[in-house]
Symmetry: C2
Subunit: 443 residues, 2 copies
């Protein structure tokens, strides 16, 4: 593999070998490898790149890795890289960096680039404004196709995209967009107004970036015009940034789903302490919540002492309830994220999942009845089977509705993680189990 | 909300109201609403759309919903929709549909469209060939920029994209690509060969679609040329299809992560039975695996009977072990999916996660010691605390390395779900707990 070859080269400190490896691989592969190296090796490799390739690789790095690489560069190289970055990438880097580092970056910039960056940094974290590209080519609807193409040629070199061209009125207010494709295919004498799509979606720079990115995905757009509160064009969101936004949001959602706080950067380059920190808060909360199960069992300690065999099925029951709840919660969180479910659906979802849970519980009960009868006898097997049906229905309902209720309360539904649902279902599941035992076994 | 308004209209069967609603909303919103309706209402709404909008809405539907809508159309309308679909969308629809339906679709097509669809269907499920667009505009490297633009104008109307133009030799072999942007900005007399990017990535039509889509994401491409085994261009993969591929893959991974088989279609429109079917297989497997915990507890029934208080901490211990394992497994599966970790990293990952687990376990042990001492006394509290440290380290190691080992064995790492890890850690966690109890309590 190319990757293992690089590791050998860096361990032997074989500079010509590293240079050869760098020359052979495209920028995104090099960026990927840099992210996997320790800080010193990453800077060493980066400094071996010639200027153009260095910029291309730098663009592909995540902000924490960009910061690390930049910190290892001398002043001139530092300024060169920073000046060439796209304003949106620069804003993203500075948004996450310490103040001292940000000052060094801003000090190295030309006045024009500094002004653009400052404007983007004026938008809140997570807003479209932080991700959009402020350099756009604007067209007038009174222009002809030929004039419009001439304008694209004159102004297009600096813009991040020219494939979607916002059309504006005298006050720079968005009237619609024209696709470069349509301009190229149209008769040069036609007016641009013939080609304008006035129905095109738009977002405000202060809108949430994730919602804007998902809109682009739903509506199959490669660029999305961004306006201010008076509908004036202030930038454009490109599909590569939208994909990045969605991917990061999904990675965060997935992390939260396992009761982990999202961590910055690459899995292989974050420290053990950072990984532990991203997980410990929830684990601590959950272990405190799990104390509830200890309390519940203390209440039923008499029954437990009378029929020790009841204890044998505790892990199986709470495990299965947790699994059923986790399945429902995961389905609901994802359906919310991709827009298939809305908070108004909470009753429909609860009723659907209750039936799903009853169906699942019944099938599992049959299996449990067989296993239980073989291992400990029919009485306890019946207790376990009945409990399974109730626990599964309960777990599916709780698991599916909690994310919807969280969204309604303005909390990120992804924090309703599988472990959280599991822990909550554990205590209630035990109550269901011992109450069933009292009835079935006549305790 | 617009959505609730539509529900009221369909319940009152208010056709003019529905028409007004449809006229006011963009195609992707209408498609989203259709997917949430029952089959009959969806068809009713679809038939209210005029022809152009109907096609735009149809393109935004998922294959199961497309099949449902088509089944409700009369022959002429059916043929119109099917003939206008992009070949790749048609191939995807037919790939999932029953044979009888597929025959009806193919019979309604013109010879040219039928041939193109058949070609795409020749590629295996999940291959790039199923998603690519076969209609491309190919350029010769000997052409001038002006000639190239003339060719784009002549051939571009049928192509799905003209923003990335493959450049080929006499044998249709890919020499590189030219961006339409560069053509538009360049001097008309320059040869195309000056603008060709020869280093551009390419994929084969038989390659895995998900890998191709992630490559586009990594390398920030809006189109990716697709070649056959002899490097001849056979199509192009566009970014909107790539996003769809990634989103579907992520939805499937997330479902698998909660021990659910991915189900086809929209969460709100699949039946209760389908949802139950997607979850029952794993629940059954896991409950059988959980029988192991019953067996383990039977082995230690003597200790349990002697010190019933040991039973009180079983749910807390197995719950925490399960959570720690789920966190590590989820992180590893995601890192594998986005390419941050490779199978060769298994030992490094195991060592990292072992240390993370020890760190986490130690912090939790302090809390458990406090809680345990208050509730039941110091002896059992010490047993619980020591067990937590060992269980957390063990769970993190198992949880993180199993996905990597699965990938090595050619199994989808996402099947190493949080519930699977939890269930496996449960039984081993109990052994650790009771062995610790024997030592600490001198049983």
């Amino acid at each position: 593999m190319g990757a293992d070859a690089l590791r050998e080269l860096t361990e032997r400190n074989d500079v010509p070998g590293m240079q050869a490896w760098l020359a052979e691989h495209p920028p995104h592969v090099i960026a990927d490898e840099l992210a996997r190296q320790d800080a010193v090796t990453a800077v060493l490799l980066f400094r071996l790149l010639d200027k153009d390739r260095a910029l291309a690789v730098f663009e592909e790095l995540d902000p924490p890795d960009q910061q690390n690489v930049l910190s290892g560069l001398r002043d001139q190289a530092f300024r060169d890289v920073v000046e060439e970055m796209d304003p949106d990438d620069r804003a993203r880097l500075l948004g996450e960096a310490p103040a001292k580092f940000a000052q060094r970056v801003l000090a190295g910039l030309s006045a024009k680039e500094r002004a653009m960056t400052a404007a983007l940094l004026g938008y809140p974290q997570g807003a479209v404004g932080r991700y959009m590209s402020p350099e756009t080519v604007l067209l007038r609807r009174t222009a002809t196709v030929e004039q419009a193409l001439a304008r694209v040629r004159a102004r297009g070199a600096d813009a991040e995209t020219v494939y979607t061209l916002p059309v504006v009125d005298d006050q720079r207010r968005l009237a619609g967009v024209v696709a470069l494709r349509d301009l190229v295919l149209a008769d040069p004498d036609r007016p641009v107004s013939d080609l304008v799509d006035p129905e095109v979606p738009r977002v405000q720079a202060t809108d949430e970036a994730e919602a804007a990115a998902r809109l682009m995905q739903d509506a199959n757009l490669i660029d999305l015009p961004v306006v201010d509160s008076e509908d004036r064009v202030v930038g454009i969101l490109t599909i590569d940034d939208a994909i990045e936004i969605i991917s990061e949001a999904d990675t965060e959602d997935i992390a939260r789903q396992s009761a982990t706080t999202p961590w910055p950067g690459h899995y292989m380059s974050v420290s053990v302490a950072q990984l532990a920190r991203s997980r410990v808060v929830w684990l601590l909360l959950l272990i405190v919540a799990a104390t509830l199960t200890v309390n519940v069992l203390q209440v039923f300690e008499g029954e437990l002492h009378q029929v020790t065999a009841l204890a044998l099925f505790i892990p199986l029951l709470v495990g299965t309830g947790g699994n059923a709840g986790a399945q429902a919660a995961t389905a609901a969180v994802r359906a919310l994220a991709v827009g298939e479910v809305r908070t108004g659906d909470v009753l429909r979802v609860a009723w659907r999942e209750c039936r799903v849970g009853l169906l699942l519980g019944t099938m599992l009960a049959v299996v449990a009845l067989a296993i239980g009868s073989l291992l400990v006898g029919v009485d306890i097997a019946i207790t376990v089977a009945v409990s399974l049906v109730v626990i599964c229905a309960w777990a599916a309902m709780i698991g599916s509705t909690m994310p919807l209720l969280a969204r309604k309360l303005g909390i990120d539904p992804a924090v309703i993680s599988a472990p959280l649902v599991t822990t909550l279902v554990d205590a209630t599941g035990l109550i269901i189990y011992f109450l069933t035992a009292r009835v079935v076994l006549g305790l």
